[in-house]
């Protein structure tokens, strides 16, 4: 059942740009790329949040660091994606190692605060980097380059993002089903007992944190390319909140949680902002400017009444 769904989804994704081109709706190809990039970012957060149960309000820092790494490489004249994107993953991963090593000594709200603090530090640091736009950010002279493909073409870019998302999701899903994945989930379930049966739990949480950070960095690199600019706002703690909303909406701890959440949230925002619903406009003329109100209400309702998110709602039998 799952395999069939995955297969159909994949086919639809492969066909999408062609369909959009046929209906002269190319904009949606670019929109779909954005959804997939956020699906990757949210998916990486899901690893820490959903599987390991660690609340990190600093995930935007890893995404942002990836964005800036890729962006700076392009600006400094090394646009090759084969260098820039792995580098983004590496730097984000190293940052996660440093932050994780310090933060994982703490628990609960202290952990949240420390991850938040570090993320804010990175945010303020990038804000002060006048060479790369400071608080206003900077437009990129172009996208990263790949041999044989022209990433400036939105359709090519779409397929590259799709390929990366698929490979990443495959890797992450193998991870979850592996020994490591089981340990992570068990740590979330009962950390003291895991120590008592011989697992150095902090080490495992750290590795999980680094992997999630690296994939977040990859998403960030793709994001820089998508929008063709870098801006410190991607690093703000409210962006971490945004990512969390996607994960919760989609389903914490579910394989497709990130994807479903990104699609739902971004789709909703897109719909509200750009498609005026006549009867709503009659009731409330300015409703389109207040989409965050709807987002907030939906999030609240989900947390209170459907905490396992959309994926969780459809899956009544299996455990997460």
């Amino acid at each position: 059942m799952q395999r069939a769904a995955t297969f159909i989804l994949l086919l639809a994704a492969l066909a999408l740009p062609l369909i959009m081109r046929a209906f002269d709706l190319d904009y949606y190809t670019s929109f779909a790329s954005r959804v997939m990039i956020f699906a990757l970012a949210a998916g990486s957060l899901n690893l820490i949040l959903g599987y390991a149960g660690m609340i990190s309000f600093g995930h935007a820092a890893f995404v942002g660091v990836g964005t800036y790494t890729a962006g700076v490489m392009i600006i400094e004249g090394v646009p090759s994606a084969l260098i820039g994107w792995p580098l983004a993953m590496l730097i984000a991963g190293l940052l996660a190692l440093a932050i994780g090593a310090m933060s994982l000594r703490t628990r609960g709200v202290y952990f949240i605060m420390i991850t938040l603090a570090f993320a804010q530090m990175i945010y303020y640091l990038t804000n002060s980097m006048k060479a790369y736009g400071g608080d206003e950010g900077l437009s990129l002279p172009g996208r990263s380059t790949l041999p044989l493909l022209d990433l400036k073409d939105d359709t090519s870019f779409y397929y590259v993002v799709l390929a990366i998302l698929c490979v990443s999701m495959l890797l992450l899903s193998r991870l979850v089903a592996s020994r490591f994945g089981r340990v992570i989930v068990a740590i979330r379930e009962n950390e003291p007992r895991m120590e008592a049966i011989g697992y150095p739990t902090r080490r495992y949480k750290l590795v999980c944190f680094v992997i999630a950070g690296a994939f977040g960095g990859l998403a960030g690199a793709l994001l820089a390319n998508h929008g063709n600019y870098i801006n410190p706002s991607i690093l703000h703690w409210t962006q971490s909140g945004n990512l969390m909303i996607m994960v919760v909406l989609g389903g914490v701890g579910y394989r497709y949680g990130g994807l479903i959440g990104a699609l739902t949230l971004l789709g909703l925002e897109e719909f509200i902002a750009n498609h005026k619903v006549e009867w709503m406009a009659d009731l409330w003329p300015k409703y389109q400017q207040h989409s965050l109100l709807g987002v907030g209400i939906i999030l609240l309702v989900i947390v209170l009444y459907a905490p396992r998110g959309i994926a969780g709602w459809f899956d009544r039998s299996r455990r997460g």
Binding site: F57, Y110, M113, V248
Partner: protein, 305 residues
Amino acid sequence: MSIVLILEQSLNGLQFGLMLFLLAAGLTLVFGIMDMINLAHGSIYMIGAFLAATLVAATGSFALGVVLAIPATAAIGMLLEVSILRRLYTRDHMSQVLATFALILICNEAVRIIWGSDMALGTPAALSGPIELMPGLFYPAYRLLVIGVGLTVAILLYFIVAKTRIGMRVRAGASNREMAAAMGVDIKLLFTLVFGFGAALCAVAGAMLGPIFAVQVGMGDNILILAFVVIVIGGIGSIRGALIGSVLVGFVDTFGRAFLPALLREILPPQIASAAGTALASILIYVLMAAVLFWKPQGLFPARG
């Protein structure tokens, strides 16, 4: 770097710190007693400011407007507690974080819809001038009022929590819910009142700070983070910790912003100095928090074991 400048910045630091204390006190009480992380605390501060601005405009009197805003905000806070927040007490921290984050979004938009993106709240005419505290040291009268209000509330709070029966009940509720219930303390009511009290404190801070910072949507988001930094430094559940933490943060932040860029200009080339200075000033309190946690992982005065 004159004495006058240092004194002036010290007063600024004290003023900011005391207002932070008003927020941190409510936050630490809610966290300490109900074990709830409430991100919407900043939103209540914002609502308090907007209500104050509205009531000041409506009544034409700064004092009256502010005084009326306090119970109004407390009422809204208690309404939120009864309708939504009390469902979160039994949930895990992650759910609380997400739900209250949702409330931030809702409140920001709701305020924008009701009032617009910002509102004017000016200093009361009688206090708009400076007072000469010392030969050469002029300080805005209004800011002195803010300091005065802050100190008064701090003393009042200390008195209530440490010396009265209500305070004892609150502390009992903090340490052992079941036992407090057995002793006849109505837990639900207690929690609602504690929340309302925290909201009232937010209103005071919001109204007082309104003329200094702007009254605008989203004003609560950044100060919320500072309040959390304060309670983490001070120790969760501890009013004393909140006071010391806020004054510490207030001073460090104010002095950092005032003197760090200038200090760095002595050692580094000017372009790097100004950029580094502002960045460093912003992250200084986070460094402070990390340092405190490194030395004392539960904060300076943890109320709970």
